[in-house]
Subunit: 276 residues, 6 copies
Amino acid sequence: MRLAMSVLGSLAVSVGVLAQTPPLKLDPVERQMPAYIQERLTAADRVLFDKLMRVGIESAWSLVTAEGYPQNFINELTQLKPNYRMVGRARTMRYLPNRKDVREKLYAAGPQLNYKSAEEAQPGDILVFDAGGETRAGVSGGVTTIRFLVRGGAGMVIDGAMRDIPELEAMPMQTYMRRGHASSVSPIMMSVDYQVPVRIGSVTVIPGDILVGDSQGILVIPAEIAAKVADTALEHDEQEEFQRELLLQGESIYGVYPMNPATRKRFEEYRKKKRN
Amino acid sequence: MRLAMSVLGSLAVSVGVLAQTPPLKLDPVERQMPAYIQERLTAADRVLFDKLMRVGIESAWSLVTAEGYPQNFINELTQLKPNYRMVGRARTMRYLPNRKDVREKLYAAGPQLNYKSAEEAQPGDILVFDAGGETRAGVSGGVTTIRFLVRGGAGMVIDGAMRDIPELEAMPMQTYMRRGHASSVSPIMMSVDYQVPVRIGSVTVIPGDILVGDSQGILVIPAEIAAKVADTALEHDEQEEFQRELLLQGESIYGVYPMNPATRKRFEEYRKKKRN
Amino acid sequence: MRLAMSVLGSLAVSVGVLAQTPPLKLDPVERQMPAYIQERLTAADRVLFDKLMRVGIESAWSLVTAEGYPQNFINELTQLKPNYRMVGRARTMRYLPNRKDVREKLYAAGPQLNYKSAEEAQPGDILVFDAGGETRAGVSGGVTTIRFLVRGGAGMVIDGAMRDIPELEAMPMQTYMRRGHASSVSPIMMSVDYQVPVRIGSVTVIPGDILVGDSQGILVIPAEIAAKVADTALEHDEQEEFQRELLLQGESIYGVYPMNPATRKRFEEYRKKKRN
Amino acid sequence: MRLAMSVLGSLAVSVGVLAQTPPLKLDPVERQMPAYIQERLTAADRVLFDKLMRVGIESAWSLVTAEGYPQNFINELTQLKPNYRMVGRARTMRYLPNRKDVREKLYAAGPQLNYKSAEEAQPGDILVFDAGGETRAGVSGGVTTIRFLVRGGAGMVIDGAMRDIPELEAMPMQTYMRRGHASSVSPIMMSVDYQVPVRIGSVTVIPGDILVGDSQGILVIPAEIAAKVADTALEHDEQEEFQRELLLQGESIYGVYPMNPATRKRFEEYRKKKRN
Amino acid sequence: MRLAMSVLGSLAVSVGVLAQTPPLKLDPVERQMPAYIQERLTAADRVLFDKLMRVGIESAWSLVTAEGYPQNFINELTQLKPNYRMVGRARTMRYLPNRKDVREKLYAAGPQLNYKSAEEAQPGDILVFDAGGETRAGVSGGVTTIRFLVRGGAGMVIDGAMRDIPELEAMPMQTYMRRGHASSVSPIMMSVDYQVPVRIGSVTVIPGDILVGDSQGILVIPAEIAAKVADTALEHDEQEEFQRELLLQGESIYGVYPMNPATRKRFEEYRKKKRN
Amino acid sequence: MRLAMSVLGSLAVSVGVLAQTPPLKLDPVERQMPAYIQERLTAADRVLFDKLMRVGIESAWSLVTAEGYPQNFINELTQLKPNYRMVGRARTMRYLPNRKDVREKLYAAGPQLNYKSAEEAQPGDILVFDAGGETRAGVSGGVTTIRFLVRGGAGMVIDGAMRDIPELEAMPMQTYMRRGHASSVSPIMMSVDYQVPVRIGSVTVIPGDILVGDSQGILVIPAEIAAKVADTALEHDEQEEFQRELLLQGESIYGVYPMNPATRKRFEEYRKKKRN
């Protein structure tokens, strides 16, 4: 996902003569947070989220795993927008099958949690709905999501269903879910817990986690290690860019990926040159 | 799905200053039946189907449920065309696992039901194939579907598989199904019943039902209540449009969605003004 | 899939008057192998693959079945690129759940099989990974696939997961898989066997099989019958093109599809004329 | 299932010295219809059902397949009673997801079909409920089933759920189903069709089919070929009994199963002797 | 489950002459809480649980539904002991996929919740583990369950897996689960919440709920309505016992089930007589 | 599974007075290989298999995991015999979806692998069939299994289906599988590889692996570590027996499980005394 489409498009034409001449160069994709979010982020978030917009998710996954979190990747959901990078901070909710007594008590105490989370969202937040995989009712819909969007919302992750899918598809942010449904949350489900640890697919997400989503799925980064992961992954990506370039020039994969000492030396020169 | 994409596209640019100034307005999406169907509909259908092309599926679902049909939404199938509204009238078929004796008797009595239904289709019809979720054989294919299309066919809903997917993707109508398959219906399946009640996902569809499909799935409206559902849902949508507008202008969701008395009063003024 | 989109697009406009005048003609879709592969194929492969780029998969399926292979169609995987024809020759690998002793022995003996297969790939090859449907780890990723692409790779079929999905989506070849995942193959899986018979969905694929993929799924053609299948299917397609044309002109499906003797006579005249 | 448990129990003790002496003999299991059914059957049914109580289901499957019915075995359901042979004649019902309009019309026309089928059942009947695999509501329960039992009912096959499982477990007949549920059929399901072709798992069952069930699942035999299948299968079983005996005496499987000419000769002598 | 097995056993023998003479009588099954629990219950629980040991689960389900709880039946789990009535009070736990940071914080604060719940269990408690359906690790095992048993534990309900299945099978209480597994809870899962609302299958269970389990599944009764449900269901069961008796005597189901006025009158006389 | 049923049965009676007096003692279950196998094992196997008949599977799982094999437990299959310990050595086969060309080549080269494996089986062998989870055809059946049994076969593990289930249920060895089916292996499947690494559920099994099965599932122990695992697990079990005893006497779980230093000291005294 770090290769620009235009480059690969031209590859189709010119690769036939690759063995002789290396006509391709790597144009790193320029991914950015939407302006309406970026402007409103704290300075620290702006820096962090900008790095995570550009990082290789695979590199970041390796580092998150190495830090002791091998179960932090969600790949059971479907994304509404193709080829779209989502970065933000988890704001979690837990939904359970509806039952009258619990529902009455909870809803007497305050608004349903999709309203509350939309209203309280901070710029760069991602709403995370744990609905236990239930797809017979949508946990929220388009109107509520407009409020979230205006607040600076950066995405939604639902282990369940949503309403108003075409409207969500048109919004400038990503939504991950299992399926759509036209039904309101009632009478099948009810919102129960706000900002607690939840289960999405086979991953525990806690409030404040940094989420990085793409077509593969969503990497869940504990907030404390997010900056370190971003920095180290970008370094690792630099190495992979070099390896991609060599392979596009027709070199053998042996010695290049993974690198043998000779290739590593060439890489260090390449990096030195690039940084000057 | 009632917000124009261009509006939401511009949202990404201008929302940063939303709090100060309300620069967005709602452009209702203009959805229409394809001309080749519309021209051939009866006058009554033209009016009804036109309304259902524009209605919010979520509003319509609420009304269908309120009329006593809480199990009438299909969300287990996949659609071939993204962001495409399907409206039409169900023409149903039932397929069963093949067995020689039943097949011989049935096929001696007349053509297979995919041929028959294509030939007998009326403008605005939607072919509904109950294949019990079987995906190891396609119930019909591209050639037969051309006949259906020429007859004014408005869509297909298959709880099973279809052949010739790329050809169907290119047609000016929607197809919902589980998967594609290159296999003919034989030797796995056979067509058994025509114009009987069938099961699609977890919904019973009967001949004459009015179907409204979108990315969320398909709402099944009993014919007798279709006009009432369409009219009432459009009224409800007007209210949601107003709510969307307020939220896009930066108002809090509390009081707006759902409406408190003050907002309702503003809405009534808005509606009055809009109608003059 | 043999109807050009432009034709069907115009159908939406003009079909209303179809009954009177036949304004539509069939423009067969022009499908071709990407140039970077085509140039490097052997002469025999270039002829065979070119035919299979154009053939109707349904016609070919009938012939493969008639030759004694009724279980040779894969429809359990998802494709990364919409509306894209894949043709090539299977190069197979088998992955198993990881266990230390087997892994150590295998990896001491040579490189992991995704590297090896990318390096040894011949122009027009399709990498086939049998990972037993496991989606908790990717069997390979973007960097390795660049080597495969440069070697003339024509596609990938994975009964499991892949990394770097956005990068793969941008490549000029098709990938079929179950899901994406950011994880490396370890610690969940390991590559075990190279160029052996494997199971993809419910089909056995052997090295050298000719694969033809489209939106329906992938037809697996034993190499020995591939040329015969291609030729006979193209003949059959010619007949279906004629039938499509008649139906687009408003003729009844009865007698046309399947053909009665009168239609068959008209078809033979049509074919004769077309060939002069 | 044609080996008596007592034999195999003793096998555990004596098999250690099998190579020297053949101490085992085959005691064919004596399976019979329950007396309360048998007494009330027609003479023809008594003969047919008695044979099918003793036949090898695998032999019968081969013959049903050879007659042109390769898709006639149900193995997707669970049986309530272990190690219990069920034989009888299918009386079918079709259930669909509930919807008010259809339900009102149907239930105005007569009793629900579980009542009707229990009341009209003939001795040796098996009730077959096609509920589309739905397990959120039971199609019938214990009280109704008592009526069926008293009428001479021989079993139940439900592609869905039943109520009152412990009561059914205590009855002298077999029940196959997906799961139990305490819910009445309403409000999830409704009975729609009586004595029509239905789908159970991936098999079509029609009224009058002869069903033979065991722990493997249920063989569906078209009525017209049932007598022939029973007779031929019993002949084939005789051969397998001989093969079992040879293997228990320690002979190699090669030449015995399948038989080479020498073994076949020995079998013919064995059969001749046995019949005198 | 209200018919004694011995009665139904004898039915097989005598039913053939049922039409003439009514030789069967209903012996209500005597179900009781195990003595080791019963002795230690509070007086109120002893009365309530005793009624629920005898009640028809289907009758109770109807009443729970009528009170506004139509989603309170769990039928997705498997029971270890056949034909065994479980009654008790829910003590809930919630497990999530393991992650280092959450686990360290939680386990520093106190013992894992399977230990804690076993230690704090009151007589008649049922441990309810919400493990999100995860079956790759057992949430608890045999040793811990001995402590629970000694404390007066009445059953376990696990939406996930357990260790030591043969040991649990030998215990004098019921266990419902998805599958067994030999793995400890780590490294796949961790215990997170104690005595909170949880999801089991598609039902919300809260601490204090009264659970009644049998082969059909588990009915979840809110504590506040449990006494009323028990009393009313027993009354309803009395009516069903009468209906069963009539049907066993060979009466038609029409008029008996459901009752017409004449049968109701007979029932009232029967009840009067029975109570004297 | 290390508590005798009789003990736990009596628990139900006496536990009410447990707090005062500790009336229960642990009677370790006596599990043994069937005599017909045991007599024919090599001396080394007799010792190893005897230990593994008695070991706690959970203890053994911990040790296998600690040796570097965290993915070696199969819990996706169903067992034919309840409460039955299976121990033996894996003899593996791989089945693939049938295709004519591969089948003809393979079957020309020698007998089908279910025959071959039955004929070549050594005492204590377990046949392991990888059929990719396919349940539409049985990989083998009762007659062939008799030959395996006579050879000293100790069990069967099938990731797929088997024929002749009642016959297998009556045999003095365990069978694990997905479902039964009456169909022969053809025309759906074919046997392809003998004594190669295979996938069962999500575990790789290689020829020579030592399998230990129980109601939880099957632990796969690499042959090289089997003796060490058996010895160490038995030691660990001794500790758990002590812990069980303390808990049955009414002690708190805290300090006992896991052990605190004081309990450990008591355990060491208990062990010393027990060994004298």
